[in-house]
Symmetry: D2
Subunit: 370 residues, 4 copies
């Protein structure tokens, strides 16, 4: 909890996010909450009028509102007050090219997920990140929820014993009715499944070694899968299953994670993000609560309010931004837990493997390591 | 909710169930609740002393306590007051031979699940049932929960539109610690997975056409799988997944069912069996409640108390017994919903197909129709 | 869990309960479940035809179907096979006269709650019970819920430290719409409030010393209060509040109990009767579960199924009947926890005190001890 | 959910809030989230070193860090860029004098609750506010929760019919263990009870006409009540009860509100602030969800993320700040719902009446109108 000195805010640039609502706004809320960043530049839309409108609405100097991301990368690179961080919230197919343009100029980057739909371009970006001396983060915001940090710490400390089972679900009516959202439809695996792959990696500390996927397309005319189930074998012997859906008509709060080990189980739900249910063998279930006693430092430091006050998604996003600010400023003692390029690579490997399995009728396929 | 004339109780025989607790006791509680049956004969254990003890404890006339099931079938068949129903609660490998012995003599039979682990013997029993003019039921007690009857009625009436997804889980620490229970260990698929296969059939009204199974053995020395995930394709285009586990350390109340269609979703949990969550597209989630207004007759008639009082597993079992009593007595107007030999066959087909898939490394296999 | 020898069932008589549904049926379900009782005699209705119909429907010998309770008391007293227990489920104003008629002839009696609306007649019955050598119980069925027995045991063992607060609520739309139920309306305090008074006594082990009540009549034309709040001071310094309502439109599952002490709190809800939430100071909330590890013997012995199976109201009622059977048969080792005449007296004192407070504009009044 | 033009931020001053955590930090988080305010001046502590440290940590110009609130009021009043809003988060006994100093100089003010413990000083401030042409708000942040705005709109629209019952509870172990928090202890009524009084007013639209209070002091040495129950009669005939506690050992998330009318009931809990349970008579309970379909504009406009993402206390606080910004800027179309001086007066009247009742042994007392 505590508060850091904010005498000088870091400056933030944004590529994409021109609409008032949507993922760009979630980034802006997260970036503002702790007062560590100030939005200073951007290329918010390929449409010039929309771009200018967004800049004005967001208080960005017209001189730092760029026509395209290449112009922004070039323009900011020349400024002495160049932005400290670039948030890439452009459409999925632009993630790698935009991120790469900034990484290659030495900018710190926070890229939206999924990093990429295939491993090839993601590997090229990975190489660029390795060459650059900069912070690179992927916006898997589940990493910002205090009770998922607590879960991660408990698994790492052996509280569950060896992990046996991971069950992840992310089911929403989302696009069940085929509502247009202004962008081409994204498959449920690339959009939601990567969260599951990330969370398995983040919480269970395991790698996906093999998987078999079954996908469906229930909403007419979407052109991509809107529902899928994936069976997985994880490093260390654990088994896992993911259910993701954009076609789960009626469902709204469908994110759930269970991790079961030899000594107990954990259960977390997006609907009550401040709670983590811990079921130890031979004892009653324990309801661990954000802000409560006995939590790991990783959970405590990601919490802003005492227990009894609800926190949620914006706070989780803000914690990613705070971690990135700590990493940029190299704060002594800070232990950033933001997802990295490796998490992005793991996500791309997962998506590519799922596509391969589906193309082979749901057969089991190997997933390459990061 | 009303009450039927019980001037003459039906007489019940039991094969197995000699232990004071366990599945036999659940049958006795269910058979007693509505006062439609009186336990009158049995072969409770292969161990003579245990058999006699059980008979005495349960108030069964020593002259109708038989040394083995064959003697019981023969002995009861000769009596003018032969038992009206035989409950088969013997170990799994005895289900078919015991049931068959009684069916062939024209007894009404209620057989524990799973009916059989393979289709071959189950088909022979199916033929015998077809020849006999008797009631045959399988004890899939989920069919007795009022709110699962409600779910079934809603799906049948099209309240969800075409079914898209069925997710079933049944995870318990059960034998996580390898505790002896006096019988050889049963695999998670045969013990728990058949419930999922049954519920998909009962609620969603769909047949399992293909499946792929991944099983694990986490508890050392069990010799059978104690955890499994099964992906399924159902008739009508729906997809399904099952997670069953005897190795889910710490979990105790792990039964959950979700059914998602094009127009909404249903959610049911064993921990709150009187509730059915209905999430219709574009409207708030509705909490349908046993005893509440607007439920289907199938749900109303399976309910004994007004809403606000909790019912549970014993009541569900009692409803199976009530349905069987209605079927035996051919009550006019009664609409028994107890699981039949076809449900037992479907269960055996599911188990056999899972075994086939596991043997082939989790490949997709066809499931024969009933 | 275990099962007792039931070679000879106790015989049960019933006064009232002629309707197929209703409280009489709940008694019959509870009496049947464990096979300890057989309904053998009754006076089910003052209406002769209804009385005969009920007897036939319930399988009671016409010769033991009596025209009125006095005839039943006299007739049964003369029989060598007189009933072992009389369940009094007649209207509230008949509880004391009926119970007294049977107590004075030495019958064991289970009387519905509230025992009486005023202390005077209840005291006379108390004296008669003291003279008789018989079992007398009051049907406060909350005493049968395993997790309320667990709560009682924990409070008694000091797990909460000194009790500070008891909060009880029992709110239902019940008669919100003024639906006729064939009997004169009963006030919310006498019908529901006595449950709260009983539970405070049963779980917290405390006596109500003073109270102040505020009642309302929201449903037009009822003639009695249908909603009330009562503040209470308990022995030992604890404070308590009760909210009861027949006018809580829309509510169906409104029973909840919280007990807070210096070292932690307990929370129990009728909607999930198998759960008891225990919040110890400085530790996560623990979900104690019927059938789970580490429960008190009083909770274990009131449980029939392993955890993971739901139990409910019928089982709670059956536990009262089992306790009464144990008391009648003087089973060695049995520790009956059924409510006694003293609990009935405490209830009458509570009702009378509430009426006194309401008559004085909600002033604080003393509650006499049992 | 849209986003407003933020080309020029409003400047914020703060009195109190020098500690890194605590109520001041909650104000700063809320003020920052939407980017409408920038902290520009303050008097954060009476301790000079602490005051300077806070200013530096928070990025406030040393020239606008004032030694006391009077100096700040005088100093800011002379500046052409005087702060647009003063947040008063000083100790309770300073609320009125500090607020008054700024109101009298024409500043817009947001004052922490409780406005005052007695009506006298609050009335003087009320008069000053009436004379000033400025915005005055009280930080009853429950007004910022979207689903409480939804509840308010539903009650106002008659969805519940005439309100019958309001039940509010706010129980926490808070200071159960007597932990020092650096300020003198505040009574449970003034600290928590005023929330209940506010919520009854905000949601049910009713005034408290009479009340009777019973308070206890369970934690040794506190000197003020740490637990209380208040019965209330509201305008329009509704009855209400409040339970507040700083002594509820073990409880952490104890805020709950129920509002029951003739046609249904609403239920809201702090633990799941995005949900509002609506129980209409004769229909299943409906789970209204922030971000879901069919909500009132007042709820929609207070929501930042789609349903499925969790929001919480910080967002509720931010909505107060947004409303105040709208009021200051006189945005066309904005409909600020922030609590006003009248809500503060109503709170002071409630506290004073409770004290009067307690002093008279829990007798019923009148509560003067605002």
């Amino acid at each position: 909890m505590g508060e850091l000195t904010v005498s000088k805010r870091l400056s933030l640039g944004m590529v994409g996010g021109g609409r008032p609502a949507g993922i760009g706004e979630l980034h802006r809320l997260g970036a503002r909450l702790d007062g560590r960043f100030e939005l200073a530049a951007g290329c918010f839309s390929r449409d010039p009028a929309r771009n200018r409108d967004a800049a004005r609405r967001l208080g960005v100097d017209p001189g730092r509102c760029y026509a395209d991301f290449a112009a922004m990368a070039a323009g900011e690179a020349e400024r002495p007050d160049r932005v400290d961080l670039v948030a890439v919230v452009a459409p999925n197919d632009m993630h790698v090219p935009v991120a790469q343009a900034f990484v290659e100029r030495g900018f710190n980057v926070l890229c939206e997920k999924p990093l990429a739909l295939t491993l090839g371009p993601a590997r090229a970006l990975q190489a660029a990140v390795a060459r650059a001396n900069a912070v690179f983060a992927v916006s898997h915001y589940f990493a910002g929820f205090p009770m998922l940090r607590q879960a991660r710490a408990m698994v790492a400390a052996g509280a569950l014993g060896p992990v046996r089972v991971v069950q992840y679900e992310h089911a929403s009516e989302g696009l069940a009715l085929g509502r247009p959202d202004g962008r081409p439809p994204v498959g449920a695996i690339a959009d939601l499944g990567v969260h599951g792959a990330f969370v398995a990696r983040f919480v269970a500390g395991a790698r996906i070694e093999r998987l078999a996927a079954d996908a469906a397309q229930f909403t007419p005319g979407r052109g991509v899968e809107d529902d899928a189930r994936v069976l997985m074998r994880l490093s260390g012997g654990a088994r896992a299953a993911i259910w993701v859906s954009h076609a789960a008509a009626g469902l709204r709060r469908g994110v759930g994670l269970r991790v079961v080990g030899a000594k107990g189980a954990l259960d977390w739900r997006i609907g009550e993000p401040d709670l983590l249910r811990h079921a130890p063998v031979g004892e009653p279930v324990r309801l661990l609560q954000r802000g409560g006693d006995g939590l790991d430092e990783a959970a405590r430091s990601a919490s802003r309010l005492p227990s009894g006050h609800a926190e949620g998604t914006i706070e989780a996003f803000a914690t990613l931004y705070r971690d990135i600010a700590d990493a940029i400023e190299k704060r002594p003692g800070a232990a950033p837990l933001h997802p990295t390029i490796d998490d992005g690579i793991a996500g791309a490997a997962f998506i590519e493997a799922c596509a391969g399995s589906i193309a082979r009728g749901g057969a089991w396929v190997d997933v390459p390591p990061v």
